[in-house]
């Protein structure tokens, strides 16, 4: 079976619409399938897959995200997750069922300006995303430098089976906490952080270049 890859712009014709649901980022007129974004369309027999190269972060259930607390009231924290909607972390998620606004203070747990890692547990078109921190590895981020990358380029930063992220981590002696929403926390020694940020900026600029891995290797070997 051969896969044909097309470089497409919004409105480009990709082929006949396949049976069943429409591939993401496409629409159809009659039986003809068109694209909605800049990206790569992979057509294999009747199957069409679309990889967008730009676009905002749209929340998905079970996504791991990095956010910033921007507001709190007696019952929830409002968390900016670099998306078109504000996410909410309910106080019960942190304090449990026995939560009472009179005996618990939300700001003891997360203050405005604090960053946290969380998972999206609920979201649909009509409601803002709901977060949880009740899983191992989730919660307040205590150190590191936040960096933002276009959400559509996060897969490139991670690489095949995490290969790209591993290269950056090992060569810059840092640890990357990568949110699917495009927010990354870089932890490690100062030189390492400066170097890892350079690598992330290079991915932002050259995400589409096939030789990206070797470019990243070269950059990291040069050091600060």
């Amino acid at each position: 079976m051969t896969i044909t890859r097309y470089k497409v712009l919004p409105g480009d014709y990709i082929g006949e619409a396949p049976p069943g649901p429409l591939p993401t980022n496409t629409y159809k007129i009659g039986n003809k399938l068109y694209t909605l974004k800049i990206g790569l369309a992979e057509v294999e027999d009747k199957e069409v897959k679309f990889i967008p190269l730009a676009g905002p972060y749209i929340p998905r259930i079970n996504d791991f995200v990095v956010g910033t607390v921007v507001d709190l009231n007696a019952f929830t924290w409002d968390v900016d997750i670099n998306s078109l909607y504000m996410a909410h972390l309910p106080s019960q998620d942190v304090f449990g069922r026995n939560f009472s606004p009179t005996s618990h203070s939300l700001s003891e747990q997360f203050k405005v300006g604090d960053m946290l890692t969380a998972k999206i547990i609920a979201y649909d078109r009509t409601r803002d995303p709901l977060l949880t921190v009740r899983e191992p590895g989730l919660g307040k981020v205590l150190r590191g430098e936040p960096v933002v990358l276009s959400p559509s380029k996060i897969p490139r930063l991670i690489g095949k089976k995490g290969s790209m992220a591993k290269i950056i981590e090992s060569k810059s002696k840092t640890k990357l906490i990568i949110g699917q929403n495009g927010v990354i926390i870089v932890q490690g020694p100062p030189d390492g952080i400066v170097l890892a940020i350079k690598a992330i900026h290079l991915i932002e600029e050259k995400a589409h270049v096939p030789s990206l891995t070797s470019m990243i290797n070269e950059l990291l070997s040069k050091g600060v």
């Binding site: 470089k7 712009l9 919004p10 409105g11 480009d12 014709y13 980022n25 629409y27 068109y34 909605l36 974004k37 800049i38 967008p52 190269l53 730009a54 676009g55 905002p56 078109l84 909607y85 504000m86 078109r125 009509t126 559509s152 589409h208 270049v209 096939p210 030789s211």
Partner: protein, 238 residues
């Protein structure tokens, strides 16, 4: 009265009736924006940038099942022959409106309910056809932002000077000519998203002017495609 077309059929800047001015597009010029583009179309120099989709403030403006679009077309004080005071004029407000409507035709607003998309256009230097050049830049910026859109949009005017139908009017042809017809067009859908005209056109002239504008738009579409491809798929190093 100024003669706009000479006996050899050449216009003041040496173009034939169906020739475009030079068009240059660059994508991704404003780092902070979610999408941006710069266009030079004749002497027009225009930047467009997109922010969003993002949260709506104040909340009462939001629409539950789709995104709202806001557009601001603005001319810099130094963009015109005589200095233009910075506060928006009625002309700028109207152009903002027609540009917004033109882009609402292609945007998949249902995909982003309860959000807002802000589109800002700044004319750094103006020439004839600045609203047409603006819509081309906007469409490049929207594509760059990755907001779902059914097609790209390109803009180009036609008009009438010295009794002839001509393509892509310059400043002086716009001012001294007999008619001006800005047209924005969606090339894949083959539909018009913006149309205004003033002047006297016979029915035949009107048809001819529209055909000519669409022909010009198809040429600009090629330039726009090339600019987007350059930004997103260019692999070799400079």
């Amino acid at each position: 009265m100024i003669k706009l077309i000479d006996e050899n059929g050449l216009r003041l800047d040496g173009r034939r009736f169906d020739e475009l001015r030079p068009v240059k597009i660059e994508v991704g010029v404003i780092k902070n924006a979610n999408g941006s583009a710069y266009i030079e179309h004749g002497k027009n120099k225009i930047v467009a940038a997109v922010y969003g989709p993002r949260e709506v403030h104040p909340k009462h403006l939001l629409i539950p099942d789709r995104a709202i679009v806001r557009c601001r077309y603005h001319m810099s004080p130094f963009s015109t022959e005589e200095r233009k005071p910075p506060q928006p004029t009625r002309r700028e407000i109207e152009i903002s409106l027609v540009l917004r409507r033109a882009m609402e035709c292609v945007l998949f607003l249902e995909e982003y309910p309860r959000s807002i998309i802000d589109v800002y256009v700044e004319v750094l230097q103006s020439d004839g056809g600045s609203r047409c050049a603006s819509i081309t830049a906007i469409s490049a910026a929207l594509a760059d932002s990755g907001i779902s859109m059914k097609d790209l949009i390109v803009g180009c005017a036609s008009g009438k000077a010295d009794g002839q139908i001509i393509l892509d009017l310059s400043d002086i042809e716009d001012k001294e000519g007999e008619g001006d017809m800005p047209v924005a067009y969606m090339p894949n859908l083959d539909k018009i998203t913006l149309l205004q005209f003033d002047g006297i056109f016979s029915e035949e002239e009107f048809k001819k002017a529209l055909d000519l504008a669409i022909m010009g738009n198809k040429k600009i579409y090629e330039v726009l495609r090339k600019a987007l491809m350059e930004k997103y798929f260019k692999t070799e190093e400079k």
